[in-house]
């Protein structure tokens, strides 16, 4: 039973477009939602995160939209660049010390 679900599995956009990555979760106790970016051969690295008390978080070209009632969130990558080509993981936690629960990831390809 996947507690954090991501869609689509893969996404292709042209440079300059906005990429939209979706995430949903099951556990109502989850209150912290980070997005991690992973390049081939590397470990995941934190991109942006949001707490459940907020409905939006922006950091440069990256924006998280959060809907607590529907248990859904999305990551928007504005003005996508070829260097954004990576796998993006949505994660969640209820008790930070017990680690994060990850989705299966969305592979994003940005073509020039």
């Amino acid at each position: 039973q996947q507690q954090v679900r991501q869609s689509p599995q893969s996404l292709t956009v042209w440079e300059g477009e906005t990429a939209i990555l979706n995430c949903s979760y099951e556990n109502s106790a989850f209150d912290y939602f980070p997005w991690y970016q992973q390049f081939p051969g590397e470990g995941p690295a934190l991109l942006i995160s949001i707490l459940s008390v907020s409905d939006k978080k922006e950091d440069g070209r990256f924006t998280i939209f959060f809907n607590k009632r529907e248990k859904k969130l999305s990551l928007h990558i504005a003005d996508s660049q070829p260097g954004d080509s990576a796998t993006y993981f949505c994660a969640a936690s209820a008790d930070y010390a017990q680690g994060l629960t990850f989705g299966l990831g969305t592979r994003v390809s940005v073509f020039p």
């Binding site: 051969g41 590397e42 470990g43 995941p44 017990q98 680690g99 994060l100 990850f102």
Partner: protein
């Protein structure tokens, strides 16, 4: 800068053999984690630790042991390696509801 170092980076083991994966962090974080990453399963938590001397079971602990002898070091031990444990293993450290810092991973093949 936060640093998590894993060794070895690549390992080939035989079925039934013992494998130890090592992780060192210089972040002075209390919490450390071992995840494995497989296509179709994403990242799954194996074991974690709250500090030196503590180990806790994650979501998929069967077949794995962990050891946290110090604040800086956290090891993952496969006493009897099986081909199903072929995977990429990531160590991470963190403290509070802050960033988890991941190492570069260890690619393990069990033949």
């Amino acid at each position: 800068e936060a640093a998590v170092t894993q060794s070895p980076r690549n390992k080939v083991a035989v079925t039934g053999g013992k494998v130890t994966l090592s992780c060192n962090q210089t972040n002075n974080h209390n919490n450390m984690y071992w995840y494995r990453q497989d296509t179709g399963h994403g990242l799954r938590l194996i074991h974690y630790s709250y500090g030196a001397g503590s180990t806790e079971k994650g979501d998929i602990p069967d077949g794995y042991k962990a050891s946290r002898p110090s604040q800086e070091n956290f090891s993952l031990i496969l006493e009897l390696a099986t081909p199903s444990q072929t995977s990429v293993y990531f160590c991470a450290s963190g403290q509070g509801q802050n960033t988890l810092y991941f190492g570069a991973g260890t690619r393990l093949s069990v033949l």
